[in-house]
Amino acid sequence: MSSTTQLAPGVAINLPKRRRSRRHLAHRAALNATAAVVLVVMLFPVYWMVSTAFKPGKDILTLTPTWLPSAPTLANFTDAINRPFFWSDVKNSLIIVSTVVAMSLVLAFLAALALAKFRFYGRSAFIVMIIGVQMVPLNALIIPLYILLSGAHQVDKLSGVIITYLTFVLPFAVWTLRGFVLGVPKELEEAAMVDGCTRFGAFLRILVPLVAPGLVATSIFAFIQAWNEYLIAYVMLNSPEKQTLTVWLASFTTVRGTEWGPLMAGATLTALPVVVFFLFVQRRVAFGLTAGAVRG
C-alpha cells in the first residue's frame, strides 16, 4: 500500500526504482511485519481491557481466555456506573478539571506572553523556576501540601485539590504556550500595527487567533493531566462522595477477589475521554515540548 503512494506521482519517473524492487519489497514487508508486531504488543492491554469489559462473566473467569466476548454485553458497564459514588465522583472530577483548566490557561497565557514577547530583568530566573519546579517530584511535595492544607482546613475539599493541581499543570502550561506564542512571527503583529492597529488590537486580531490552536492543545493537555491525577486526590479527599474518578476506580482494585468485568468497564469509562482528547492534540504537544531543542 505504501509503495503505491510512491508510484503515484508518475510511473515513468519511478521506473529505475523498479529494478531493485524485489529486495525493496522484501525490506518493506519486513518493516511492516515488525511494525505490526509492535502495534499488537502495545495495543494488547487496551484491547484486553475493552474486550473484557464487554464479556459476560463466564467468558472472563475461564482458564482458557476467550479473545472476543461470546455474547457482548453491557452488564459490566451498568454494574460499574451503578456502584456507589460513581456519578458524584464523575461530577467532582469534572468540577476540579474544568476549574484547573480555566485557571491555568489564563495565568499561563499571560506568563507565556511575558516570556515570549519581552526581554526583562528576571526573565531567566523565571525560566529557571518554571523548569526547576517541574523537576520537583509531586510525590515529595505531597507531605508539605497535606500539612499546609490541613492547617488551612482545606483537606477533604475540592478547592484544596484544585489549588494543588495547579502545581503540575501551570508550569507545563506556561512552557508549552510560550512555544506557541513564539511560533507566531512578530512581523505579523508589526504589520497590523503599521496598518493602524493599536498594540492591543494587533494582539486581539492577530496573536490570539493564531495562538488559539495552542490554547486548545494546552487546555486539553491540562485536562488530561488533571483527569488522570490520582495521588493528591487520594491523600486530600477522604469522604467517598468527594473523591475523583481515578480514586473511585482504584478503590475497586483493593478488594480481595476483584470483579474484573465491572473493573475493566470502569477502567474503559475512565480512559475514554482522555484517549479521545489525546488523539486530537498529541502532535502539537509532542512538538511543543521539544520545539527548538535541536537548534539549542
Partner: protein, 328 residues
C-alpha cells in the same frame, strides 16, 4: 503556520523595517516606556504568585519539616518541634533506607534504559515505514500514551491475575514455563518485572513520538552523503543521528529519570496499597513513613534525599532547557 509566515514576509517587505520603526519611536515616549517596562511583570505576577504559593513554599516547608519532629500531635497543633539533623541521622543509620535507595537507583536505571532504547528503536522504525503503517502505529502509540496510570495498573493486574491471567496462560501455552496459578508478586523480582513492563509500556509512546519528531528535522543530505560514502545504518545512527538529536535525548533521558525515580502509584496500587518492605521505593518509603506511621518529618527527610539525588543527576537537563528558553 507556514502560510502565516509567508504572509508576514509579504507584508513586511515593502514597509515593515523601513517606515514603521522610526514612526513608532518618534512618539512622546516616557509613559509608553514605563508601561512597556512594567508590562512583563504585570503579566507574570499572577502565575508567579500561584507557583510560589503552591510549589516554592511547600518545597521550603518540605525542607523545614525534614528538620522537625512532626507526628500526629504536631499535626493537630500545626507546629513541629525542631530536632535539627535527627531525622537524617536516623535514616542514614537505617539499613532499610540504604536498601531502598539502591533498589530505587537500580529500578530507575533499568526503566530509563529500556524506555529510551525501545523508544528509539520504534522511532527509527516509524521513520522507515510507509505512510499507512506509520499512521496506524502512531495512532496506536497515542492511544497507549493517553491511558491513565490508574487504568493501566488495573489492566496489568488483570493480565497477570494468578488464576485467570492471560499472561500466565500464554507462558504456559508456549511451554516457556508452567505458570498455571502463578502469583507474580510473591517474588519481588518478578513483581518489579511486571511494574517495569507497565511503566516502560506506558512511557514508550512519548519517547518514540518525540524522537520521531526529531528525526524529521534531521538534514537528509547529511544522511545521504554518509550512505554514499558507504556508511551502514549503525554508523549513520551513531555518527549523525545521535549527535544531531543529542539535545532531544538529553531532555528525554532527564525527564525519564525524573519520572522513574519517583515512581509511586504503580507500586502502591499494583500491590493493593499495602506493599511489603521488599517493594519499597524511595517515594513509597517516604509515603508510608508519613501517611501510615504519621512521621511526617522522617518522610520529608527521605523525600529531600530523593529530590537531591534526582537534581544531581538531571542538572544537565535544567541547563539545556534554560539555554533553550533564553535563546528564543
Amino acid at each position: 503556520m507556514t502560510r502565516g509566515a509567508a504572509g508576514a514576509d509579504l507584508l513586511t517587505a515593502p514597509n515593515g523595517s523601513g517606515l514603521a520603526a522610526p514612526l513608532a519611536r518618534r512618539r512622546p515616549a516616557f509613559r509608553r516606556r514605563v508601561v512597556r517596562a512594567a508590562a512583563p511583570y504585570a503579566l507574570l505576577t499572577p502565575a508567579a504568585v500561584v507557583i510560589t504559593g503552591v510549589l516554592a513554599y511547600p518545597l521550603y516547608k518540605l525542607v523545614r519539616l525534614s528538620f522537625q519532629k512532626y507526628g500526629l500531635f504536631e499535626l493537630v497543633r500545626h507546629k513541629g518541634e525542631d530536632i535539627r539533623f535527627a531525622n537524617y541521622t536516623h535514616i542514614l543509620h537505617d539499613s532499610l533506607f540504604w536498601h531502598v535507595v539502591a533498589r530505587t537507583v537500580l529500578f530507575a536505571a533499568v526503566n530509563v534504559g529500556l524506555t529510551i532504547v525501545l523508544g528509539t528503536l520504534i522511532a527509527l522504525l516509524l521513520e522507515r515505514l510507509g505512510r499507512t503503517m506509520r499512521v496506524l502505529l502512531t495512532t496506536g502509540l497515542v492511544c497507549v500514551w493517553a491511558i491513565p496510570v490508574v487504568v493501566s495498573v488495573a489492566v496489568f493486574q488483570w493480565m497477570v491475575d494468578f488464576q485467570f491471567g492471560v499472561v500466565n496462560w500464554l507462558l504456559t501455552q508456549l511451554h516457556i514455563v508452567d505458570y498455571q496459578h502463578h502469583n507474580w508478586f510473591t517474588n519481588p523480582w518478578q513483581g518489579f518485572a511486571v511494574i517495569t513492563a507497565l511503566i516502560v509500556w506506558g512511557a514508550i509512546p512519548f519517547v518514540a513520538i518525540t524522537i520521531y519528531a526529531g528525526l524529521a528535522q534531521l538534514p537528509r543530505e547529511l544522511v545521504e552523503a554518509a550512505e554514499v560514502d558507504g556508511a551502514n545504518a549503525w554508523r549513520v545512527f551513531w555518527n549523525i543521528t545521535l549527535p544531531v538529536l543529542k539535545p532531544i535525548f538529553v531532555i528525554l533521558i532527564s525527564l525519564s529519570i525524573i519520572w522513574d525515580f519517583q515512581v509511586f502509584i504503580q507500586v502502591w496500587l499494583m500491590l493493593g496499597t499495602t506493599p511489603s518492605e521488599d517493594y519499597y521505593l524511595m517515594s513509597v518509603y517516604s509515603f508510608v513513613e508519613s501517611f501510615k506511621i504519621s512521621e511526617y518529618g522522617l518522610g520529608s527527610a527521605i523525600a529531600v534525599v530523593m529530590v537531591l539525588i534526582m537534581l544531581s543527576v538531571t542538572f544537565v537537563y535544567v541547563r539545556q532547557m534554560v539555554r533553550i528558553g533564553e535563546a528564543d
